[in-house]
Symmetry: C2
Subunit: 304 residues, 2 copies
């Protein structure tokens, strides 16, 4: 059974220049849940000066109607964010850091090792306080397929963090191609090595950007290799801060089209999801990059 | 060894509303050859009233400077086109028909069976005339992954045409997803069955459109399954007559990026090819859909 992790409200909106109102963000999350999506990354608890689009995280989190069977998540990058998420009562906390020195120092002001140790310590503290059962913890390894500053990334370094993350008690580990440079053979190899490193005990997810059009090819390779969680953003919402003209996340409706076409059940109503893609396109006021929202599903015209 | 078949000057331009001058088409073909591409579909010999963009096929064919090591091809859909191509001295003739009744009747005014038999007869006649050695013959099976009128296409029907095409002496058989509805498992299965049906004696090619963003995923699956020829159009030039807002062929530079990233040598200079994509984008006057032409290759910024 695979899972789609919708990241439009977080990774998507965070990389759009326009700012949505709190009410619009809440409506967005509710519309997504109504399509059958079962996992939604709703907010991030990051510094409001660094990411002004997420400054109202607490209000958004408190504001949306919970849909039955849907898990909502919040992203955190450090102790302060973790505490905010815990205070808000977030049931699934997404930790993330970049696996290269330069990227993580620029983005989180810390070495990758320091970020990892801080996250592991937060899980330990929660465990000691008897609170570890109150939330699910995922870890995203950013720039695992390539770093905008350092270039190619040593796979051994990535796999080592995967192994240690499993040991530290993360419930899920996500390999992220933050800048969209990955290719399918690389995706397959990294996923296989991650599964080996964790003895298959921890679900391995993938987070692909379609910056160079390889996003769904990487999904297919990762799926074949055993990945079970797929991040995507409705409409392909978001962008790439390292390539101004480029697209961001793979589009959720394109992912759903491909998976369903291959007989992989997603539980998502594709027409409803296309409707949300068009709705949010109107809100952000630019042409989104998703393809199925333009071409439509495969509906024969008839012989007429 | 794989081959990229550049179809921008034919499938690309044919589906762009703008009309280029003969001199511009010639310059386009010459620029493509200078990037290291070794196979270029340069023109189609079709009725000028049906495809006005190709009305100057003979003049284009006669006009471009031949680059060493490059094979240029012309598309034909019937006996008249074949005769024009032979008169022009085309060394690689691309035959094509749609495998469904409705599609082929609407596009070529004939049943698929009739088109196939006519093509096979043309090869036989050339053989009898001692002229078969003067041209290479490829056969493209259009709408092999789905028909805009009839919907899903029976794979057995496609595979049967593949087997008969090999028996009829075609040098290469191309499975075309003309409307961009295919998914990777389907691509892998069709390619495997085509190779089985021909006993591996005839190269199997694939022609994917990226209409629903599955183009490169299908390439990867087809490559793994044993396909050796990949059609693509620089910049993703072209469109989809059945989905007005949708993109057409996969972009050659995106294909090159992915293949080279996987260690599959293409012989193409990616930067030069991006240059041609931007040049032709200026000529057609609309934003093309290729991604690597916007994001660029993977070039780290340095730690600075």
């Amino acid at each position: 059974m695979i899972a789609i992790q919708e990241v439009g409200p977080r990774d998507g909106l965070q990389n759009e220049p326009v700012r949505l109102s709190t009410a619009e963000k809440i409506a967005f999350i509710e519309r997504l849940a109504a399509t059958g999506l079962r996992r939604i990354e709703a907010v991030s608890f990051v510094h409001p000066e660094r990411v002004p689009q997420m400054a109202d995280a607490e209000a958004v989190w408190a504001g949306f109607r919970r849909a039955s069977g849907v898990t909502y998540a919040g992203l955190v990058l450090n102790r302060r964010g973790f505490e905010r998420a815990r205070t808000a009562g977030v049931e699934e906390i997404h930790f993330a850091f970049g696996v290269t020195e330069t990227f993580n120092r620029k983005n989180q002001g810390a070495a990758p090792e320091a970020s990892f140790r801080q996250f592991a310590a937060l899980l330990e503290e929660a465990e000691a306080a008897g609170a570890r059962g109150r939330f699910r913890a995922t870890l995203t390894l950013s720039v695992a397929f390539g770093c905008p500053y350092e270039g190619p990334v040593d796979e051994g370094r990535v796999v080592d963090f995967v192994r240690r993350a499993a040991e530290a008690g993360f419930d899920e580990i996500v390999l992220a191609d933050t800048i969209g440079v990955g290719v399918p053979t690389q995706a397959a190899r990294l996923v296989r090595r991650a599964i080996e490193a964790t003895g298959g005990r921890v679900p391995i997810g993938v987070h692909f950007h379609n910056t160079r059009n390889t996003g769904l090819a990487n999904v297919y390779a990762a799926l074949e290799a055993g990945a079970t969680v797929f991040d995507a953003s409705v409409g392909g919402l978001g962008g790439c801060p390292f390539a101004p003209n480029a697209t961001g996340n793979i589009a959720t409706e394109d992912l759903v089209y491909m998976l369903e076409g291959m007989g992989v059940a997603t539980g998502v109503d594709l027409d409803a999801l296309i409707g949300v893609a068009r709705w949010i396109e109107g809100k952000v006021g630019r042409r989104l990059e998703g393809m199925v929202m333009k071409a439509g599903p495969f509906r024969p015209l008839g012989a007429g």
